[in-house]
């Protein structure tokens, strides 16, 4: 049963992926069991063969086209030389929308800060220059009456009367 346990560990994952605790378990068992020692050696050999076969296949694919390396190196050098401009373009692509929206917001805030107060001050100047008429004082309900003193109201009413005489 113990032997089966060791082989289960060996067959459950590639030898290279075994954890340290699994390897310790295997080594402890292998030191007392010749069968499992051979099984462990075979598993290691299997992993080695697979690794060598894969690296050979990769090398063959690389060697299959002699111009592949040349093309890759040329593309890499070209990318290196244009790295500065390329990175600026990439930066703009990533942040362009954000920068544009920030500029638009700044423009709107500038318009609100400079244009709106000047319109308000014009109204105030006009209000100070224009004389109060009796009709505007009595009938204009929208105006805030608290801003007018009693003297201003009386002056406005009697000024109209004086003009009538």
């Amino acid at each position: 049963m113990n032997d089966n346990h060791i082989t289960d560990i060996l067959d459950n994952a590639p030898v290279a992926n075994l954890s340290e605790s699994e390897l310790q378990t295997i080594r402890a068992h292998v030191s007392t069991c010749a069968e499992c020692e051979r099984a462990f050696a075979a598993a290691q050999l299997s992993a080695l063969l697979m690794k060598e076969r894969t690296s050979e296949a990769a090398q063959s694919a690389f060697d299959a086209n002699p111009f592949f390396q040349t093309r890759v190196l040329a593309a890499w050098r070209e990318q290196q030389t244009s790295a500065g401009a390329w990175s600026l373009r990439r930066l703009w692509n990533a942040t362009g929308a954000l920068v544009a929206s920030m500029a638009a917001t700044t423009a709107v805030l500038a318009v609100l800060a400079f244009a709106a107060p000047s319109a308000d001050s014009t109204t105030q100047v006009q209000a100070a220059v224009l004389p109060y008429s009796a009709e505007s004082v009595v009938l204009d309900q929208d105006q805030d009456n608290k801003q007018l003193t009693n003297d201003q109201v009386i002056n406005a009413i009697y000024a109209d009367d004086d003009e009538g005489k």
């Binding site: 082989t7 060996l10 067959d11 459950n12 590639p14 290279a16 051979r38 099984a39 050696a41 075979a42 598993a43 290691q44 050999l45 299997s46 992993a47 080695l48 063969l49 697979m50 690794k51 060598e52 076969r53 894969t54 050979e56």
Partner: protein
């Protein structure tokens, strides 16, 4: 699109492998002297040490012969997981198998390969 093409390529390769003749096992008598010598001394080579050119050729030849003894599905699972270092999820994605099937295939393939090599190691 990429996954679809990968799946088609995988299935085509599997069909080709199924149609190829499968060798039942590797016999010690089939090995050359160089291969026998290499197997006798392979335990001296540590896993991290890289093999020289001659040993690489022997190792690749043995690997091919070992894979020929496996079914196409087991061969694919062993090659992808132990050779290429693919995860169970990646193999399942490429082959269209369930993750359980990938695990079972890889387990059986490792066991068959290990047992075949045990016989060769004596």
């Amino acid at each position: 699109m990429e996954g679809w093409l990968t799946r088609i390529a995988t299935n085509t390769c599997l069909n080709l492998l199924r149609s190829a003749k499968r060798r039942p096992e590797i016999l010690t008598s089939d090995l050359s002297n160089d291969e026998t010598d290499w197997l006798e001394n392979v335990s001296d080579l540590s896993g991290s040490e890289s093999l020289n050119a001659e040993h690489k050729v022997i190792a690749v030849d043995l690997a091919e012969r070992l894979l020929e003894t496996l079914s196409p599905e087991d061969r694919l699972a062993l090659t992808m997981m132990d050779g290429e270092g693919a995860s169970v999820n990646e193999v399942a994605e490429v082959t269209g198998w369930s993750e359980s099937k990938v695990k079972v295939r890889a387990f059986r393939a490792r066991k068959k390969a290990r047992e075949a090599l045990e016989k060769l190691l004596g």
